[in-house]
């Protein structure tokens, strides 16, 4: 049940192998990819700021919660920090279980919690040279110039 913050590209196949278990019949993975746009603006790159120590601690708490709630064998979550290019994997969650229902439910639980609880902040760089911290509602006031007044759209 490992949560890690990575400063170089995430290798999903290697992470999956680390979860391998002959008792496992099901594996579910989620990957968050850097998209080419967000809230209608063309994005060229992303920067993630992470408080690593607290992010890992909170991430491993979430993994343990998933293990308590669902019949899973193993789970892991790896999140990038630093500068990312379009198409890169920003976050990877993998779960193995005997039966598929538990793996699907646990994977969904983990990514939902990770997105709202880990001390991680995303700065987007736009094609027009502008940039801004992505932080949902509240950023309308903080970043009035960006016009982020509509509901925040996230993968």
């Amino acid at each position: 049940m490992q949560c890690r913050i990575e400063t170089s590209p995430i290798d999903p196949e290697a992470l999956k192998r680390s979860l391998g278990d002959v008792r496992a019949g099901a594996f579910v993975a989620f990957e968050g990819w850097v998209r080419d746009h967000n809230e209608g603006r063309a994005v060229t790159a992303l920067h993630y700021e992470v408080h690593e120590r607290l992010a890992i601690r909170e991430g491993e708490r979430i993994l343990e919660e998933a293990r308590a709630r669902y019949e899973i064998l193993e789970a892991a979550c790896h999140h990038r920090a630093g500068d990312l290019a379009l198409g890169e994997v920003a976050v990877w969650v993998g779960v193995v279980s005997r039966h598929r229902a538990a793996a699907f439910e646990a994977c969904r639980y983990i990514i939902d919690e990770v997105k709202t609880r880990l001390p991680i902040w995303k700065k987007e760089f736009y094609v027009d040279g502008d940039s801004g911290w992505v932080n949902c509602a509240g950023c309308a006031a903080a970043h009035g110039a960006h016009g982020h007044t509509h509901a925040h759209e996230q993968a």
Binding site: Y48, W121, W133, A137, Q154
Partner: protein
């Protein structure tokens, strides 16, 4: 009056113009200190959407501050 070490992250760091500062404060709780810092630096995010860690542990806004505490203010998170 107590002295605490405050650290700012992401948009808070940019708005404060610093990653951290030593503050002498009368604030009784982390929440009170946040209000003080938000007013001074012009933080726009409402406290309900922000988080605080005191001495390396996420804490409720009601946590009492002691002299020498290290206080981290986290703006709304956006992982994934």
């Amino acid at each position: 009056m107590k002295r605490v070490a405050v650290e700012y992250f992401a948009v808070f760091r940019e708005q404060a113009g610093t990653a951290g500062e030593q503050l002498d404060t009368e604030a009784a709780t982390a929440g009170d200190l946040f209000v003080e810092c938000a007013r001074r630096h012009g933080f726009a995010d409402p406290r309900e959407r922000c988080k605080v860690a005191v001495n390396d542990e996420l804490a409720p806004w009601e946590v009492a501050l002691a002299d020498g505490d290290q206080v981290l203010f986290f703006p709304p998170v956006a992982g994934g």
